[in-house]
C-alpha cells in the first residue's frame, strides 16, 4: 500500500493545526451563544442544495410508487379522508361559533398573516428530538422565530438559524435549549415548558395548590412573546407534588404523529 513518507513532526504539527482550527470553530459558536456564524452559513449554503435535491428526487420516486403501484388502498383511504373532512367541517363550525361568542376573532384579527407548507428534510440523527431541517428557506419568506406546527395544528417548534435560501432549521419544543410559555387548558395554570431531548417535556414553576391531573391538555399562553396563545402542545403524563411547586411531565402531541409535512406560521403580531 502506498503512503507518502512524512516526518512525524510534520504530521503532528498538521494534526494539531487542524484540531486547533476545529476548536476555534467550536469556541466561536459557543461565544456567539449558538447564533449563526459565517462559517456555518457557508457550510449550509454548500450542503443544503444537495440535500434538497436528494429529498426532491426521493419524494418524486416515492410519489410515483404511491400513485401508480400502491393504489390498492386508495378507495379505503378516500373514504377515511371524506369522513375526516366532514368531521373537521363540523368542528370548524363549532369552533368558529365559540370564537365569535368569546370575541376571540377580534383579538386575533391581523395576527396570523398566513402560513407556509414545508417538508421535513432531515432529523438530528444523534439527538432526534432536538432539531430538524425543513425544505423552506429565506426564498420562501422564512425568518427566525416563525412557529412550526404539524399537519393537525399542534406545536412542533420554531425556526432558528441557520436559514439558507432553500432550507431552515427548526428547534423542536422537546429540545433542551429554550422553552415555551404554556398553561393547563382547563384552569389556566401557567408555567414554563422546557424540553429534555427526549419524548417528554418538563412543565416548570407550577404552584402546588392547584392540582394537575394526568391527561390534562397543555396549550401555549403567549406570554413568551414568541409562541402565540391557544396552540395545543401536549398532555400531562406524570405529576409529582413538591413543597411549593409541582413537577409535571408533558408528552407533546407531535411525538406520536408524522412530522413529514409541517406548517410554518408567518408573521405573528404580539400585543
Amino acid at each position: 500500500m502506498y503512503r507518502g513518507e512524512i516526518s512525524t513532526e510534520k504530521k503532528f504539527s498538521m494534526l494539531v493545526a487542524v484540531l486547533f482550527l476545529n476548536l476555534v470553530l467550536v469556541s466561536i459558536h459557543v461565544v456567539l451563544k449558538n447564533q449563526q456564524t459565517l462559517f456555518q452559513s457557508i457550510i449550509a449554503f454548500i450542503v443544503s442544495p444537495f440535500q434538497v435535491a436528494s429529498q426532491k428526487t426521493i419524494d418524486f420516486v416515492s410519489h410515483e410508487f404511491k400513485h401508480y403501484v400502491f393504489l390498492k388502498d386508495s378507495f379505503t383511504k378516500y373514504h377515511e379522508i371524506k369522513k375526516k373532512y366532514t368531521r373537521l367541517k363540523y368542528e370548524n363550525y363549532i369552533l368558529k361559533k365559540k370564537l365569535i361568542e368569546n370575541g376571540f376573532t377580534q383579538r386575533v384579527k391581523g395576527k396570523f398573516q398566513g402560513f407556509i407548507e414545508a417538508d421535513l428534510i432531515s432529523i438530528d440523527q444523534n439527538f432526534p428530538l432536538s432539531s430538524i431541517m425543513i425544505n423552506k428557506g429565506s426564498k420562501d419568506g422564512i425568518i427566525k422565530d416563525m412557529i412550526v406546527l404539524n399537519e393537525e395544528g399542534e406545536l412542533v417548534g420554531r425556526v432558528v438559524e441557520p436559514i439558507t435560501l432553500l432550507s431552515s432549521k427548526v428547534r423542536l419544543i422537546t429540545s433542551s435549549i429554550g422553552g415555551v410559555g404554556a398553561y393547563i387548558e382547563k384552569d389556566k395554570l401557567e408555567g414554563l415548558l422546557t424540553g429534555n431531548n427526549n419524548a417528554t417535556c418538563s412543565f416548570k414553576y407550577l404552584i402546588a395548590n392547584k392540582p394537575v391531573f394526568k391527561g390534562d391538555r397543555i396549550i401555549t399562553s403567549g406570554t413568551d412573546k414568541i409562541f402565540p396563545p391557544y396552540i395545543p402542545i401536549g398532555k400531562v403524563v406524570k405529576t409529582q407534588k413538591e413543597y411549593l411547586t409541582q413537577k409535571v411531565q408533558v408528552k407533546p402531541f407531535f411525538i406520536e404523529k408524522s412530522i413529514k409535512q409541517l406548517i410554518v406560521i408567518k408573521n405573528i403580531k404580539h400585543e
Binding site: M14, L19, N22, V26, I43, S122, I123, N126, P128, S130
Partner: protein, 147 residues
Amino acid sequence: MVLIILQIIIYRYENILKINVDFLYLILVYISVKSGFFKTVLSATVIGLVTDYFSMNVMGVFGFSRTIAAYLLNEISRHIDLKNSLLVFILIAISLFISNLISNIFFYIILGVKFSPNLILFQPITTGLVGAFILIPSKIKEYLDVY
C-alpha cells in the same frame, strides 16, 4: 455518492427507519485506509463539518472528533489485516466510539445534553457492521488494495 445519498435518506427518515448508521464515516474509513496522512486529515475535517451541519449542533465538534478518529484509522490500518471482516468491524466500531465519545463530551460541556447511548454505542456498532458487510465482496477488498 451512494453512501452520501444513503446518509441523506437516513437523516430524513430517521424517525421511520430507526437505524443509526453513519455512512459518511464509512467514506472517511475508506479515505483513511486508502490515502496518505494529509488527505486523511483534511478529508476528516471536511466530513466532520458536513456531519456537524447534518447533526445541527455545534459546528466543529464532529470536525474535531472525526479528525482524531481518522488519524487513528490511518495509523492503525497499516498494522491490521483488512481482509478479516471482524477486524474491520472492530476497527470501525472502536474508532467511531472514540470519535462519538469525544463529540458527546463536547455536547455535554457546551449544550448540557446527557450522554446518548444512541450516539456512543449503537451508531459505532451498526456502522461497524455495515462497514464490515460492505467489505465482504472480494472486489471491494481488491479496490481497497487489501486483498
